[in-house]
Symmetry: C2
């Protein structure tokens, strides 16, 4: 390779490979992108030279030229919330398998930051997976107009979406509690703008109504461990014998708060979580509604990639099911 075409420090470009291999730049390009158009010997030669130079096609330049960036964005409200890492992992695996890179955005549960992240990613990614969006519907639709968007745990007609359906798991939970003799059940709220929260509450309402059980509501300010501890006085004041929490983290906080208050679980009060992300590790092990987050992440990316491949999936609705996992935080009513 001649020093005239080889700049040191920088990564080699297609031009330098072309010079070294004594072919045109187009041939080098084809050797990587469309080898079937070239004579096998040419492909081999070019690739050998490229390898020796340490050449790798520049994804940015390729994207600019083709319009295919081979990247997607994944925006979540809070990566530190244990529901999301498995989902992110699933999404990342699916994207990786298809040769796509993943931009990660953490909105910190803040709609304005979510909006800003989405704007930043525009024009830099082929599409976005928007998880548990806190944006209002109209704004989500505006973003979806600019490029393909797949929603997770947000149900907007006309937009492809992956939904974790709490119906089965929640209904099983109510049956389980009813069978244990509970007549008055408390639901501890999640974020008001969360689709998951709304679904869970609604499902719970239906199931309790259908069985003639009472349902009371307790507020938690955020779905955090500390908020779970903090809501325990309200919970106890409600007079319920069983509590269903918006998610496992909240439930875990509730368990801690109850232990501190000297309330026995499940003797005095039964507790049910949701998501099954930490459930096996609590004390007592938490009865919870299990949700396959990894599967949801993979499904969302597959849906998005299908969308990019021109499949008509505009109104696709991929539903993943839930079920109750009974552990030791639930027991007979009034056993304490």
């Amino acid at each position: 390779m001649s020093e005239s075409t080889r700049r040191r420090g920088a990564a080699p470009t297609i031009r330098e490979v072309a010079a070294a291999a004594r072919v045109s730049r187009a041939t080098v390009s084809r050797a990587f992108g469309r080898p079937e158009l070239l004579r096998p010997a040419t492909v081999a030669h070019v690739r050998a030279v490229a390898a020796e130079l340490g050449y790798l096609p520049n994804a940015v330049a390729r994207g600019l030229s083709t319009g295919r960036y081979a990247t997607i964005a994944l925006v979540v409200p809070d990566i530190a919330n244990p529901f999301f890492p498995p989902l992110v992992r699933g999404a990342q695996q699916a994207a990786d398998l298809a040769g796509y890179g993943v931009f990660l955005g953490d909105s910190d549960e803040d709609p304005a930051r979510e909006d800003a992240l989405l704007a930043r990613f525009t024009g830099q990614v082929e599409g976005v997976v928007l998880v548990s969006s806190r944006l209002r519907a109209a704004r989500v639709r505006e973003h979806a107009e600019r490029r393909p968007v797949v929603l997770v745990n947000r149900d907007l007609a006309g937009l492809p979406r992956v939904l974790v359906d709490p119906t089965r798991g929640m209904t099983e939970a109510v049956d389980h509690l009813a069978a244990l003799g509970h007549r008055r059940i408390a639901y501890v709220n999640g974020p008001r703008t969360s689709w998951a929260h709304q679904q869970r509450r609604r499902t719970l309402r239906r199931a309790t109504d259908a069985r003639g059980l009472e349902l009371v509501t307790v507020d938690a300010r955020r779905p955090t461990y500390d908020a779970g501890i903090a809501c325990v006085p309200d919970l106890l004041a409600g007079g319920a014998t069983a509590a269903v929490a918006f998610d496992d983290v909240l439930a875990q906080g509730i368990l801690a708060g109850l232990a501190e208050a000297g309330v026995d679980v499940p003797g005095d009060l039964s507790v049910v979580g949701c998501d099954d992300v930490v459930a096996a590790t609590t004390a007592p092990p938490l009865t919870t509604v299990s949700a396959p987050a990894g599967q949801a992440g993979r499904a969302a990316v597959d849906l998005l990639l299908g969308l990019l491949g021109n499949d008509d999936l505009r109104d696709a609705r991929y539903v993943v099911d839930t079920r109750l996992v009974v552990r030791s935080s639930t027991g007979p009513a009034g056993a304490g």
Copy 2:
């Protein structure tokens, strides 16, 4: 705006804005990138037109032209391991603050996948934060030669790195256990190729030696909850009265395995974790060595961005300290 220059469906380009605002492309570019070179009235005019058209500068084209992509890569072994989400969150925040986008890579603890991810990101990002790399040193250096790399929890001379130093926390743990009368302590291994593991074991060795305590080692195949449960028989066979686990997840599994085996904690055996990521939520609450993962993530990104800004930080070594958090999984030796 004339329909001739306005293509529907696609995002507007600088060319269309220029036409609509009756200025040159260069002027539009300056209105966004270097407004101080323009008359304020021009800036305002161009920006108004751009806003009306919904124009946003294309980050990819800009990157190609300037060589500054405004993106970094963040590669972790397993996003589902609770040590990493806070780190990722911190890194993401710091990057976001500087206007950088973050590519996330999950290597699934597999060196080959880590290598492939790194290769993919090359030429697409300005630099990479490589967390708990499982790659051999030479390979890491090769990657670092191609573009700036900041290591987290890997100590390679000549490369900028952020290290969570277990010395203080681990030493405090040994002091704590010694004060409780423990003479024989078990360490439950982490991944052999993990720098964190090596450091923790070494520190533990030094501290126990210095105090004339015995140290035995127990193998766990992976730092997982299940592996923690599985290693309990070995742990019990070792005859130690206290166990220090590589990390909290492992410790949590050990707690579960011990409970199942009818071993009282801390009555029969004391358990210490590491990282303090789930520690407050275990039963009993886990005594652990706390590590500020979020701070490490932020520091790594700041270091990387400094590197890109030409600061001479090639051999920087940013150390974050640990300390022991005493909860309820440790108690007097032989109290059971």
